[in-house]
Amino acid sequence: MEELKRQLKQQIIEAINLEDMTPEDIEDAAPLFGEGLGLDSIDALELIMIMDKNYGIKFADKNESKAALQSIDTMAAYIKEHRTK
């Protein structure tokens, strides 16, 4: 699980181009949107693409994606349960 979280953080940093950040700078439980990492709806689509392309996960509706993409912890838990690759 820890390796998955580190991998996720690296993928987010690359996709969203957070040049000054390292995986260690992102807390597992911190919110990714708003006051946490400060991501917005465009970044949310980057996360959705990460989930799709790297883990074979397609969200059925936006509420499900909102819940899954709250933090690194929620993303990792969702991936563990739903990944197809």
Binding site: E14, S41, I42, A44, L45, E46, M49
Partner: protein, 294 residues
């Protein structure tokens, strides 16, 4: 410098808008042209922001002398009046003749299993483009819902009749998920490339020789989805006759993790496409706000 977001509302009261639709069931919109010639003058006098925006376009960007720019400003508004009348006439059930330029591009894309993205602008009669699009696949249209009740009702009815699907613009950005679902399911997605809303992230790029802001969202979505992207302009030729211009902006090929750069490339192609169509139809860009100063 104005930083107000464009309200995006169609002018006129509910009563006037409903009357127009009723009237066009019986008479040709051309019968109202003499009224439009005078009505437009009032619009120009009252609409400071729109007038400044269009004058800037003609005088500072296209380089027309002041007096000539004023004349073209009037013709620009006049063309807008005709386009609006045509839109109400379409809601009243009137037919127009449409020729599709580069039809083979459209047919080739429609025959592929994957979806694609259509980027249009406030150029020509973009709403009529939707009503005359070859509907071989479901088409989803990102739509601003802040217009008047009459316009929203008639637009919804026309969309339903055509089998078009509305994705309402949401201030929290959640419409991006619906845009993704539409494309991911192999459908078509139509977005505006020149409309900004308050709080939108922007991409800056030169158009007609000066830097302006464009909404980052639609270009980033186009880049991330890695599907073909085309520009679509429905241009008014003469009464009841339009040409739908199709140009391919991207094949959808993008290196992984490089959507930002690919979005800029799509934007550059889109701007070239806009400049190309504006060179042919300079009076049909209806940006009634200070586009270069937003």
């Amino acid at each position: 410098m104005s930083n107000k977001a464009w309200s995006g509302k169609t002018g006129g009261t509910h009563w006037m808008q409903r009357s127009l639709i009723m009237m066009f069931r019986w008479i040709n919109p051309m019968a109202l042209y003499p009224i439009v010639w005078i009505w437009i003058l009032g619009y120009i006098v009252v609409g400071h922001q729109g007038r400044r925006g269009i004058y800037y376009y003609w005088h500072h960007r296209l380089g027309y002398p002041a007096v000539s720019a004023m004349k073209h400003l009037y013709l620009n508004y006049l063309e807008f009046g005709k386009v609006i009348l045509d839109r109400f006439a379409a809601w009243a059930g009137r037919k127009i003749s449409v020729r599709i330029d580069n039809k083979e591009i459209l047919e080739s894309l429609l025959n592929q299993p994957q979806g694609f993205i259509l980027i249009s602008s406030h150029i020509g009669n973009q709403e009529l483009a939707g009503y005359h699009f070859p509907m071989q696949k479901p088409l989803y249209v990102l739509t601003y819902q802040g217009d008047t009740q009459v316009v929203n009702e008639n637009r919804a009815a026309a969309f339903a009749k055509m089998g078009l699907n509305i994705i309402p613009y949401q201030e929290d950005g959640s419409h991006i998920f619906d845009m993704h679902k539409a494309i991911d399911s192999g459908n078509l997605l139509s977005v505006h490339g020149d409309r900004m809303f308050k709080g939108d992230r922007v991409l800056r790029a030169k158009i007609l020789g000066q830097e302006a802001s464009f909404p980052e969202g639609c270009f980033r979505v186009a880049a991330m989805e890695q599907v073909p992207v085309i520009s679509l302009f429905m241009m008014r030729e003469k009464r009841d006759t339009y040409v739908l211009y199709v140009k391919k902006l991207s094949d959808g090929l993008c290196a992984a993790g490089n959507s930002r750069q690919h979005a800029v490339e799509i934007l550059q192609s889109y701007i070239q496409s806009m400049e190309w169509i504006l060179a042919q139809y300079p009076h049909q860009w209806f940006h009634f706000y200070e586009f270069w100063k937003q």
